[in-house]
C-alpha cells in the first residue's frame, strides 16, 4: 500500500483520482493548492507525490523542489498538461520518477504505481545503510557517498539500476533485463540510454581508489557489479 499525496487543482480530476486510488487500497490525500499540499506533505509524510505543475498559488516544479529539499525518501511523479521537453527535463532533474502528460491512460498510471510499489518493497529488503570501504549506499534515501566523502543524490532510475545490479552482484545482468525491470513494458529506451545511466554510477564507484565496488561492462550482454571489499 502506498501513502499518496495528490496535488491537483482541477476538482473532477483530483476527486476521481483520489477515490480511485483509495479504491485500490492506497492511503490517499488530495491538495488543491500549493499551500494545502505543503501542509499535507508535512502532516502525512507521503511516499508518493502526484504533482500537477499549473497550481493556483505556485508552480508544481518549485513546490516539488521544496519537498525534495525537505525529504528524499519519496517518489515524485508529475501529472501535467505541459508537454514541452524543457519542462520535462526540469521535472526529471528535480528527481521525478516520471513525467506523465495529461490526458493520461489510467492503465499507464497503474503500471507506474505497481513498479513503484515493487521498487519500494525491494528497497525494504536491503539494510538502511550499506557500506563497502569508503562507499556508502542509502537506497531508501536515494543517496550514495563517494570515495571523497561527498553525498550524491541519485535519481529514481539510477537508484533502481544500482539496486538491481547490487542484488545480483558478481552476475552479468543483460541490458534487456535492466530495461524491462526499470523502465517497464511500455517504454523503449535503447541500450545507449542504459549506458548513460551507468556512466554516473561508474563514476561514483571509481571515486574509491581501492575499487570496493566495480561496475564492469560485459560485451554484448550488459553489466556486472562486483563487490571487492565487504
Amino acid at each position: 500500500m502506498l501513502n499518496i499525496l495528490i496535488v491537483e487543482d482541477e476538482e473532477n480530476l483530483g476527486s476521481t483520482l483520489e477515490e480511485y486510488l483509495r479504491g485500490l487500497g492506497h492511503k490517499c490525500v488530495w491538495a488543491k493548492s500549493g499551500s494545502e499540499a505543503t501542509l499535507l506533505f508535512k502532516k502525512n509524510s507521503p511516499n508518493l507525490v502526484l504533482m500537477d505543475i499549473g497550481l493556483p498559488d505556485t508552480n508544481g516544479l518549485k513546490l516539488a523542489s521544496l519537498f525534495r529539499k525537505e525529504r528524499k525518501d519519496f517518489v515524485l511523479l508529475f501529472l501535467s498538461a505541459l508537454n514541452d521537453p524543457e519542462t520535462k527535463v526540469e521535472a526529471l532533474e528535480i528527481g521525478a520518477e516520471d513525467y506523465i502528460t495529461k490526458p493520461f491512460a489510467l492503465k499507464e498510471l497503474i503500471l507506474r504505481l505497481e513498479r513503484i510499489l515493487k521498487t519500494q518493497a525491494s528497497f525494504e529488503t536491503l539494510p538502511e545503510e550499506i557500506v563497502h570501504g569508503p562507499l556508502k549506499i542509502w537506497f531508501r534515501r536515494y543517496e550514495v557517498k563517494d570515495g571523497n566523502g561527498n553525498i550524491i543524490a541519485l535519481s529514481q532510475k539510477e537508484c533502481a539500476i544500482l539496486e538491481l545490479l547490487y542484488k545480483k552482484h558478481n552476475v552479468a545482468v543483460p541490458r534487456e533485463e535492466i530495461i524491462e525491470k526499470i523502465w517497464g513494458e511500455d517504454k523503449f529506451p535503447s541500450n545507449r540510454t542504459v549506458d548513460n545511466y551507468i556512466v554516473k554510477l561508474r563514476k561514483w564507484c571509481e571515486s574509491d581508489p581501492n575499487r570496493s565496488i566495480e561496475i564492469q561492462s560485459i560485451r554484448s550482454i550488459g553489466y556486472k557489479l562486483t563487490i571487492n571489499h565487504e
Partner: protein
C-alpha cells in the same frame, strides 16, 4: 518527392522583400536627384534657381514618400509577426486549458469502463469504450496543434535514443484500431535518435491516415539501416486522388471532409528537428519514406 512548404519562410521572405523594395526605391530616387543635379547646368538655360528649387523639392518629396512607404511596410510586417505569435500562444494556452478537463473525462470514462466490465452489459461496455476511443482522438488532435504552435515558435525537441520497432507496436496498440501491421526488419533492436512524444505523433499520424483514407487496413513497414541512418518505408493500400505537390503543405486536405491538414506538415517539421527527413513517392498508392539518425551514433 521531398516536401517543401511554400509558407516555410514566408515571414523572412516578406521582410527581405520589404527591405529590398525600400533599398531599390531609395537608390532610384537618389539616382534621379543626382542626375538632375548633375545636368542642372544644361537644363538651366533660363531660370537656374527655379529648376534647382524644383529638383530639391520634388526629389526630397519623392524620397520622403518612399521612406514613408517602406516604414509602413516594415510596420505591417512587425504587426503581422506579433499577431501570428499571439495566435500561436492563444492556441497553445487553449489546448493546455482543454487538456486538463479532457484528462478528467478520460479518467472518469476509464473508471466507468472498469466498473462496467464486471456488470456484463455489452451495450454499456461498447459505449464506454467508444468514449475512451474518442477522447484519444481528441487528445491526438490537441497534441498536434500544441506541437505545431510550439515548433513554429522555435521550440526544440528532447532527443534521446529509442528502440523503433517496439515503439511502433506500442503506439499501434494504444490507438487500438483494427490495422494489420506487417513490420519487416532484419534487426529487431534497431534504435534511432528521436523525441519520444514527437515520434509518437508521427507514427500516430501515419496510422490514422491509413485508417481514414484507406479502405484496406493493411500496412507494410520496412525498416533498414543505411550507414548512420535508419530508413522506415511506410506503405498502405490507400488511393490518393489529390495534388501530390501540395502534400505536406499546411492545411492542405485532398478530401476536405477528413483530417485537419496539419499532420504531414508537422511530421515533416518534427523529422527536420530530429535531423531526419520525409519523402513521399508513388502516384496513387503513396509510399512514405522516413529517414532517422541511427541511435548507435548518439554518443554518451
Amino acid at each position: 518527392m521531398k516536401i517543401k512548404n511554400p509558407f516555410d519562410h514566408s515571414s523572412v521572405l516578406l521582410l527581405s522583400l520589404s527591405l529590398l523594395w525600400a533599398i531599390v526605391l531609395f537608390l532610384i530616387g537618389a539616382w534621379w536627384v543626382y542626375l538632375l543635379m548633375h545636368y542642372e547646368n544644361i537644363l538651366a538655360h533660363t531660370d537656374r534657381l527655379k529648376i534647382t528649387k524644383m529638383i530639391i523639392w520634388e526629389g526630397g518629396s519623392f524620397i520622403i514618400l518612399l521612406l514613408l512607404l517602406s516604414v509602413s511596410f516594415l510596420l505591417l510586417y512587425l504587426k503581422d509577426q506579433r499577431k501570428t505569435k499571439s495566435l500561436q500562444a492563444f492556441f497553445a494556452s487553449l489546448s493546455h486549458e482543454l487538456k486538463t478537463p479532457l484528462a478528467s473525462i478520460r479518467l472518469q470514462s476509464e473508471v466507468i469502463n472498469e466498473i462496467l466490465s464486471s456488470k456484463n452489459d455489452p451495450t454499456l461496455n461498447k459505449l464506454s469504450a467508444r468514449l475512451i476511443e474518442d477522447t484519444g482522438k481528441l487528445e491526438t488532435q490537441m497534441d498536434k496543434i500544441l506541437q505545431l504552435s510550439r515548433i513554429e515558435r522555435g521550440g526544440e525537441l528532447n532527443l534521446t535514443t529509442l528502440k523503433l520497432i517496439p515503439f511502433i507496436k506500442n503506439v499501434a496498440k494504444k490507438l487500438g484500431n483494427s490495422l494489420s501491421i506487417d513490420i519487416d526488419s532484419i534487426n529487431p533492436d534497431i534504435s534511432i535518435v528521436a523525441d519520444e512524444f514527437a515520434l509518437e505523433l508521427i507514427i500516430k499520424n501515419l496510422l490514422e491516415n491509413t485508417r481514414i483514407h484507406s479502405k484496406s487496413q493493411n500496412v507494410k513497414i520496412k525498416i533498414e539501416e543505411k550507414n548512420s541512418d535508419v530508413i522506415l518505408i511506410y506503405q498502405d493500400e490507400g488511393e490518393f486522388m489529390g495534388d501530390k505537390s501540395k502534400l505536406g503543405t499546411l492545411f492542405y486536405k485532398f478530401n476536405s471532409s477528413k483530417g485537419s491538414g496539419i499532420g504531414l506538415y508537422l511530421t515533416n517539421k518534427l523529422l527536420d528537428k530530429m535531423k531526419g527527413e520525409l519523402k513521399i513517392s508513388g502516384d496513387k498508392n503513396l509510399i512514405f519514406t522516413l529517414r532517422f539518425k541511427s541511435g548507435e551514433d548518439l554518443r554518451a
